[in-house]
């Protein structure tokens, strides 16, 4: 390992230049016919013209680009290697969660994968499961902000709304598809996360909660009043549904549809099931992303910031960047969920983004056990399914809902899963 690291360090400037020169030579060879020579129409006859300056610029750009790329790659690889090596030599390594929780996690994944197959003709079950997954994804997003970074955010629904409306507007006014709008909406929500983060950098706890609460309301009020963009209280309707790699879910027509392409009989349930798997995939990606982040220095900095901000700063951590990154990433994940929500409903209005939603998402994070990924899943199941199951109790169902929340807090004050998994384990290698 050590020699490998040294080899990376050992690349001399001359070698880098040689490498870049080789690349630009290839670029030159390819560039002569493709860029250097061109045909021009002159008086009806084709004549060959040369574009040497352009070719030269192209080769120079390749040379500089290759140098930068090599440098960046080597630097990055070296750091990663050294870090891994250091951690490994210390007899410590990253570990997954405890066996029982791992089993529960895999079990939940298995159930969620087969659920729409088992209930393929029961639209209600798949729909409800989709709702649960939306909240799971929102919970995982908010978990970054509240659970890991310890920033109490009462206006998380704002980012959900930004994501949903970004897709709504892009799709209905500019004709963007779901897949085109998804990254843009995520970026948009992240930007709003930073906009909220900037002025609140110095706030903590209750004060931060008040400002974020206000922010959530501001976004909602803007959506109600900016009629030209958001349709005001009427919202945005006929938002296109996501397609399966360009194949729409609709009754057979002129263009190929999902059903006709795969030779299936058309059924409206196909779309419901597709939507379910889509949010499942998005949620799983979110989970993977967040649990990877936790093990990176930035994720550890989030948690340390939650524990003690002054100590963090004294450790040389830039508190501003750490907080803003938590806000931005949490907001981005909320934005993704928002896009999905808009695409699933086909209609959005400010009604869907009230404070009540923020409160439920926050309740999911807190009841689940701050920072626990699996806890979020369990809490979303409880909080979404309870009102559904309680439909028979009519007006008493919110009472049951409240009582359940109180019971959880009495029984498990730290949340359903309050155990925090360390990101590093020590294997005793240091004793050697």
């Amino acid at each position: 390992m050590t020699t490998l690291v040294l080899a990376h360090q050992g690349i001399s400037p001359a070698e880098r230049l040689k490498d870049a020169a080789a690349v630009s030579f290839v670029a030159l060879l390819l560039g002569i016919p493709m860029i250097g020579l061109t045909t021009v129409d002159q008086g009806g006859a084709l004549r060959i013209a040369t574009r040497w300056p352009m070719l030269f610029a192209f080769v120079a750009a390749c040379f500089a680009g290759r140098l930068l790329l090599r440098y960046g790659l080597d630097h990055w690889r070296l750091r990663k290697l050294a870090r891994e090596q250091a951690v490994a030599a210390a007899g410590a390594r990253s570990l997954a969660t405890s066996p029982l929780l791992t089993w529960i996690g895999w079990g939940a994944l298995g159930v969620s994968l087969v659920l729409p197959i088992v209930f393929s003709d029961n639209r209600y079950v798949v729909d409800t499961a989709t709702t649960v997954l939306i909240y799971v994804m929102l919970g995982w997003g908010l978990n970054v902000v509240v659970g890991l970074a310890g920033l109490l955010d009462l206006g998380y629904v704002a980012f959900y709304a930004v994501g949903a409306y970004t897709y709504g507007v892009l799709a209905t006014q500019l004709g963007w598809t779901f897949w085109q709008a998804l990254p843009v909406a995520g970026l948009m929500a992240a930007t709003f996360g930073v906009i909220l983060g900037w002025p609140t950098l110095r706030l903590r706890g209750d004060y931060l909660a008040i400002v974020t609460l206000g922010f959530g309301e501001i976004i909602r009020v803007i959506l109600v009043n900016w009629t030209e963009l958001s349709g005001g209280p009427n919202g945005i309707s006929s938002i296109p549904r996501p397609s399966f790699f360009g194949l729409p879910f609709k009754p057979p027509g002129d263009d190929p549809t999902f059903a006709s392409f795969f030779g299936l009989e058309y059924s409206p349930n196909q779309r419901i099931i597709f939507l379910y798997y889509l949010i499942l995939a998005l949620a799983l990606l979110t989970n993977l992303f967040v649990s990877r982040m936790r093990k990176l220095p930035i994720g550890r900095a989030w948690e340390a910031m939650r524990e003690d901000e002054i100590a963090c700063k004294a450790m040389g951590i830039n508190a501003r960047n750490v907080k803003l990154s938590a806000f931005a990433i949490g907001a981005m994940l909320g934005g993704f969920a928002g896009v999905f929500f808009a695409a699933r409903q086909g209609f959005i209005s400010p009604e869907s983004f009230t404070f009540n939603e923020s409160a439920i998402i926050l309740a999911i994070v807190v009841l689940g056990g701050m920072g626990s990924q699996l806890g979020v899943v369990l809490a979303s199941l409880v909080l979404v399914l309870l009102p559904e199951l309680g439909r028979d109790f009519a007006e008493y169902r919110m009472l049951i809902f409240g009582a359940a929340m109180i019971l959880i807090m009495v029984w498990k004050p730290g949340g359903i899963l309050s155990h925090r998994e360390p990101t590093l384990r020590y294997l005793g290698g240091g004793k050697q």
């Binding site: 050294a82 210390a90 220095p297 100590a311 700063k313 925090r420 360390p422």
Partner: protein
């Protein structure tokens, strides 16, 4: 000169906590700052880190004026702080705490430094998987010191390391301070209420009263000074002897 404070003032809102303090720390020295409760010792320590920012005067570290630098930039210059009350990351494990300390070096020397810390503080190796908040006060203090050392600082600031610890641990902490300085050449600025122990470890000391330096000298001189003895040692000595 490693660290020089000249005419430093600091305010907490309307409270004028430091009235033009001048102190300096040379390379390889242990310098202690003693004084009664509320004299401004911790304020002075924290104002080096810009928390609160000095409202007057200059703080120069290693030839660079750091008075206006943000806290994390000051840390990056090579100053590490063991804050008052330890401020460890209590829900994270001991190992993770140490890893946070190594953030500045991008964890490049993590393995080597970790081993060094385990040698200095064997108890930390035993407890490395435990949540830091479950350690005893003395162990937490050691963790806080080890965490600070993980960044390979040039200057270590220790803010009341003996506060609230059992006598045995107090002894141990001061032993470590001496060892760090003697064997590892660490430059240390130590703020203490426990004047007796602090002055015995330190090469030089300053006495702070109402936000002003009223006395300075070598540790030995201050220990022998009747004023210091009457104000800070008589009580403290009795307490440690008890």
């Amino acid at each position: 000169m490693m660290l020089q404070l000249s005419g430093v003032h600091a305010h907490y809102g309307y409270i004028h906590a430091l009235h033009g303090v001048d102190i300096d720390v040379q390379v390889g020295e242990v310098v202690t700052l003693i004084g009664a409760n509320g004299a401004g010792k911790s304020t002075l320590m924290m104002s080096i880190f810009g928390q609160p920012r000095a409202s007057g005067g200059r703080i120069v570290f290693d030839g660079e004026d750091i008075t206006q630098l943000p806290t994390h930039e000051i840390a990056r210059r090579g100053i590490a702080l063991v804050p008052e009350g330890r401020r460890i990351f209590s829900r994270m494990t001991v190992l993770e705490n140490l890893q946070m300390g190594a953030v500045l070096g991008e964890e490049m020397n993590f393995a080597v430094d970790l081993k060094r810390m385990y040698q200095l503080f064997p108890i930390l190796e035993e407890r490395c998987q435990q949540r830091a908040g479950t350690l005893s006060g003395g162990e937490q203090q050691m963790l806080a010191i080890a965490r600070a050392l993980m960044s390979r600082p040039q200057l270590l600031l220790l803010d009341e390391p003996s506060l609230g610890l059992a006598p045995l641990y107090i002894k141990k902490i001061f032993q470590i301070v001496r060892e760090l300085n003697r064997d590892h050449g660490m430059t240390i600025l130590l703020v203490e209420q426990n004047a007796h122990h602090a002055l015995r470890v330190a090469h030089r000391g300053y006495v702070l009263q109402h936000g002003q330096i009223i006395l300075s000298g070598t540790g030995r001189e201050l220990l022998a000074n009747p004023e210091v003895h009457a104000a800070y040692l008589a009580g403290g000595h009795a307490a440690t002897a008890a």
